[in-house]
């Protein structure tokens, strides 16, 4: 399992940092022991950046190797001058990968009926909702799907409850996709859901966490917006509620919370992408979460996922003064950022919303913190602007993996520091 993780991690790293345009895959058939040894020696030459898919082991057993574009002439010259027998398996790896992506995209459209959900690709709302059912059924001892409300256009707001029992245990809230165009967040939430479910009983940390606390995970906090990004406008951010007296649709759900509502950092123009709405909690998507949290009464942490920018933030956004628990929150955020960095070296900046990103009123973690939920954090996931909202699907799982490590660090602290 660990080897698999390392392999996929390295694979993930290579996928994130390179394209494979012009990379070739050669099949080399060593004729004798001497040739095998020569190939093995070639493997040790780091500057050639050779990636052996099949290692040279014995004569007559082919070795397959991926060669970066710029090294191809040199390596081929070497092989030819030494009389090696080789053939070109793949002339341009990027072409193959692109075709694969294309195929995946096509099969995605008919994947509702298939048993396996590909966590490394972006899905429609229907596909995600189908997988929530699948998770609840496959892990029915600890996962339950509950509905906490309906969106403006009457789509269900589904939450996965992870629980090993007890009655109204202290719980952690986690949501994603409140801004619909931030696709890596809904996708990461799905992977994280699967991870939590399958880790219970296997990973000591997750097991001890769920033995003491419950987790509530809302993977698509803004389903109307999400559908809109698929059908009409990939860059849609807000809800899809109608605004009285305006042709413009939607409210920024992360300016709509009752925290400094109406203050700086939110627009009062319905056409703006940071429109706060006519009043706090005017958006049913926001009100549903607020009601759920209030009714539950024992939420100890409030975590929310956004993209992009690679930031890990705590309150406040609506004002630039430090929260009372600044020292502890800052320490914990740094520890979480450190964990995030440990797999793929992805750096997250840490700080309060106001200091790190901008002053913004009506934000969710400001509300949750002032409500009394001390451990309130907002994540901005990959990347830092290169692809922005359009993060390539091959980065979903690496993003989810590193984010999960950060979340775990926070959750462990919450578990060990009841208040």
């Amino acid at each position: 399992m660990k080897l698999g993780l390392i392999f996929s991690a390295l694979f993930g790293v290579s996928l994130c940092l390179e394209t494979f345009v012009g990379h070739q895959v050669l099949r080399i058939k060593p004729k004798n022991e001497e040739e095998v040894k020569k190939l093995q020696h070639l493997e040790t030459m780091g500057h050639l950046e050779l990636d052996f898919w099949k290692n040279p082991t014995a004569p007559s057993f082919p070795a397959d190797v991926r060669i970066p574009a710029k090294r191809v002439p040199l390596v081929k010259a070497f092989l030819e001058s030494h009389g090696f027998e080789y053939s070109v398996l793949i002339k341009d790896l990027q072409v193959v990968l692109d075709k694969e992506k294309q195929d995946m995209a096509q099969s995605q459209q008919k994947d509702r009926s298939t048993a396996t959900f590909n966590y490394g690709t972006y899905h429609s709302l229907d596909s995600i909702y189908a997988e929530l059912d699948h998770l609840a059924s496959a892990f029915n001892d600890i996962v339950r799907k509950i509905q906490i409300g309906e969106s403006y256009e009457k789509r269900p707001l589904f939450v996965l409850k992870f629980s090993t029992g007890g009655r109204n245990r202290p719980a952690i809230w986690l949501d994603a996709g409140i801004h619909s165009r931030e696709w890596v967040t809904q996708a990461s939430a799905m992977w994280i859901a699967k991870q939590i479910a399958s880790d219970y009983g296997k990973d000591p940390s997750t097991t001890s966490l769920l033995n003491k606390m419950d987790i509530f995970l809302l993977p698509v906090a803004n389903p109307d917006g999400y559908v809109f990004t698929h059908t009409t406008n990939r860059m849609w951010r807000k809800t899809r509620s109608r605004n009285k007296g305006s042709l413009c649709v939607g409210v920024d759900p992360n300016r709509n919370w009752d925290a400094g509502f109406g203050g700086p950092g939110a627009s009062n123009n319905p056409c703006s992408d940071s429109y706060r709405g006519p009043s706090a909690n005017s958006e049913v998507e926001v009100k549903s979460i607020v009601d759920f949290i209030r009714n539950h009464g024992n939420i100890r942490a409030f975590l929310t996922l956004h993209s992009y920018s690679q930031l890990l933030m705590y309150p406040y956004g609506y004002k630039c003064t430090q929260p009372a628990d600044y020292a502890e929150l800052d320490d914990l955020a740094r520890a979480a950022a450190y964990s995030i960095r440990s797999i793929y070296d992805t750096t997250f900046k840490v700080g309060s919303i106001c200091k790190t990103i901008y002053q913004a009123s009506g934000g969710s973690i400001d509300w949750s913190y002032d409500y009394g939920i001390k451990y309130s954090f907002a994540f901005e996931l990959r990347d830092t602007g290169r692809f922005g909202f359009l993060l390539p699907a091959n980065q979903i799982i690496p993003t989810a993996e590193e984010t999960w490590l950060g979340l775990k660090t926070i959750m462990e602290h919450v578990r060990d520091n009841p208040y």
């Binding site: 860059m235 950092g265 703006s272 740094r334 200091k355 990103i357 901008y358 922005g388 359009l390 993060l391």
Partner: protein
Amino acid sequence: MQELSAAPPAAFLLLLCLSVLLLPAAAAPGAEQKLSPSSRLAAGAARVALHYLNFQTASPGALQALGQVRKATLKSIPDSGHKYYLQFTTEDYKSGENAGSCLATVLYPKTKSPPVVSIKCMQSKDQRQIQEEDNRLYQKLRHQTKPITGNNIPDSHGNIEPALESVWALAVAGSSYIMWEKSRENLDYFMAQVKSVKQWIRKDDFTEFDYTVLLHEIPTQDIISCHMRLTWLPGHPLKVKYFCASVNHGLEDGSGMESGSAAGVLHEKGPNL
């Protein structure tokens, strides 16, 4: 990576947060403030400097993105504006590999005019390699039998067709001009997507493209749609003409013409203040 040590002095906090417009309140004229490397203002200024550099360099093979801000200082210049002094690392725009480091100054004038940038970089990528890449790109674009067209680059899933990568890189270079011109101390931009591209075949050596690009504007979060006409020939300044309309606000945002008259190589530029 530098970290905030002790809690910053209260005066420093006030300076950063008092203004509704997110601007630091005017410090005593001439006074210098050291900024945290993780300060959003420092990052914004560094990005502006890179927009300027990417446009001036006019080389799709040499596009750079912000790595980490190492040092940042802010100086309030009376009757002029706010000037940032920055030291930061950069990454290759496409690959993310470390590309070197830069020293830059960015002056945001009091008047609503574009930032004044001077920037000097040490880059790890070989100049010859860059030129080869640009030439390869250029040859591909020049020898099209049919004009290149494309939509949604990257697509919704973040994919860029290999055949359109060079066209995307050129869009980044051209958009950098727009983003530099539009940036203010409290307004940042990222190129979100190339909505459409159409090549115009020319009889002379230049390549020419019509683009619609989407810019992501911070902190408003608005998506700005810009129509951009771009001409390029390796070793020559990039020529950019554009007109932007905010998707949300209708036709009100600015339009601009090229100012590619400056030399297209990365060197220190900008007036002495």
